[in-house]
Symmetry: none
Subunit: 175 residues, 4 copies
DNA sequence: TATGAATGAGGTTTCATTCAT
DNA sequence: AATGAATGAAACCTCATTCAT
């Protein structure tokens, strides 16, 4: 991948995450990337293609992130890792941009990537089963719902204290 | 308020909730409302002014909704009512539009109306205190975070079974 | 004439003089006049009609102004009065608005009301003839041209010292 | 500069001069220039930017015009050249458009470009000094005021005979 | 007489996209 | 691969004007 193509991808990720897909114009992206507007279309065909490319790169990244959790065999550790993942979002501005885009796009395009989450839900279900929870499926689903709630707050509430919230909920899932 | 003004407000609410604020053009709103485009600007000055008007109406509606919970004295009932409220979202398409807009706008404009939620958080804190929970503040906050997670799933995941999720989590908060 | 009609006329005069005819919207006039926009059209049929009304009032005012000069029999006094008239423009903000509008409209609509000036030119020609000038017609015409130049500077040049310019030119016409 | 950019500039100059800045729509300019409306904004950002570009080109043109007068050392010739300049306006339709725009814009935007005229006023003052006039500063200023008066008449009065007026006034300044 | 709701045409500007180079 | 000129459609908004009350 050429430098300029990367620049476009990075600029678009940042802008889509900050302002949303529709509200970000290709000209703004080109300017931020230090590139002519035409080049965006040469590389990605159209604005949708650019988004697709970003989302595709995102999927790869998510797969890697999830892999670390899915291949964990210690049940308690699995649950802990899920909570850690949320804390990880807040750890780097890069990760923040990345996840914020994922959520913003979800809302703007109204699609919840259930399939992407499935392996994680399965891993969690399995962990809760091992820990002899009554309803491991629902337990797993609930945990992921909470993750979404936490992420939402972190992204949208200026002074949200994500650490104490995560710690508190972590305890709740140790029964 | 004249009929046509109402029509505009209704059309805009529906379209903003379905397509988002930026992606909805004033001409689309006018067409749906059966009204000339200019009338939107006569009544609301701006597209922003139209949004503000809708959001303002929304605040009033939220105040009423919350009042029913806040003035409940039975602690267990308070918590139950919060869960019921989430179920209420799914009960009518009108309520769905209303709440979906609230969430979509939050994401598009990146603002979490913390202040609006404060009275509810206080009422919940008080309820958990009465029920002798260890950390009533965090318990209340967590419950609201979960509400956000549930709403998010309901709006974005096609086949999400909100009822069973709510029922399961409801139990979790009975310790 | 009703109060409100007068208000419209005054507001329009002021705004047309300040911002020009095209650049002044009927809604701005209505707001400044403290009147509904519709009333402008009730009284004056349309925006052009409003301008016409103002211009018509202006003609009356000009006739009166000119009368004082035209009926003067002392030749030297006639010339002096023309110079005094220019100084008079600067004397009151009301007169400034009035004349500024006359000039602005001339430029915007590209019409020089020669006929309006004819009696004045005739009076001046006659005065110069009495004073035995070689070419009284051209002398009169030149004086009026100078008046236009002076007015233009007064209206458009921030720090223009109209008094000293008038005094200097006044001497020039005493040969 | 591309052909189309030039076309826009020319069309705008002509239309602004004929109809005024506010009254000329960008769509009219585009049509006359044989160009898409969007191109105006790509090249000049704004309608204001387009005007600025025209005015900027105008300044350059004025500088060149004035240079010929300012570097003249023969005092009588300097004064003659100023009168010639006015006659020059009427000589070509291109020059007419150019100067008409300068005047129209002055009136529409209410700004007299004193600084632009300063070098000319200085040169004239110097000329009158050399010719031993009593008050060379005022003499120079008056001459320029008269130029404005002449230009105004030429542009606004249908049948104005600029030649005889210029010739007459030219004599007046030979004392 | 006076208002205020309403409109349709047209205004400036932005946008995604194409194309010649 | 990369640019920059160019476009047409559509965006938001303003305007003069009409009409029912």
């Amino acid at each position: 991948m050429t430098d300029k193509k990367e620049n476009i991808l990075n600029a678009a990720l940042e802008l889509f995450a900050k302002e949303g897909f529709t509200a970000t114009s290709t000209s703004k992206i080109a300017k931020k990337a230090g590139v002519s507007e035409g080049l965006i279309f040469r590389h990605f065909k159209n604005k949708d293609g650019l988004l697709e490319a970003i989302l595709h790169e995102g999927e790869e990244r998510i797969k890697i992130l999830f892999a670390n959790i899915i291949f964990e065999t210690n049940a308690k550790k699995v649950i802990d890792l899920v909570f850690d993942m949320v804390l990880g979002i807040a750890a780097s501005s890069d990760a923040t941009d990345f996840w914020k885009l994922q959520y913003k796009i979800k809302w703007e395009l109204e699609m919840y990537a259930e399939s992407k989450m499935e392996p994680l839900e399965l891993a969690l279900t399995n962990a809760f089963k091992k820990l002899a929870f009554n309803n491991p499926e629902m337990e797993a689903r609930s945990l992921l719902i909470i993750m979404d709630g936490l992420a939402m707050r972190y992204f949208l509430q200026k002074d949200f204290d994500i650490n104490s919230a995560v710690n508190f909920l972590r305890e709740k899932f140790k029964q």
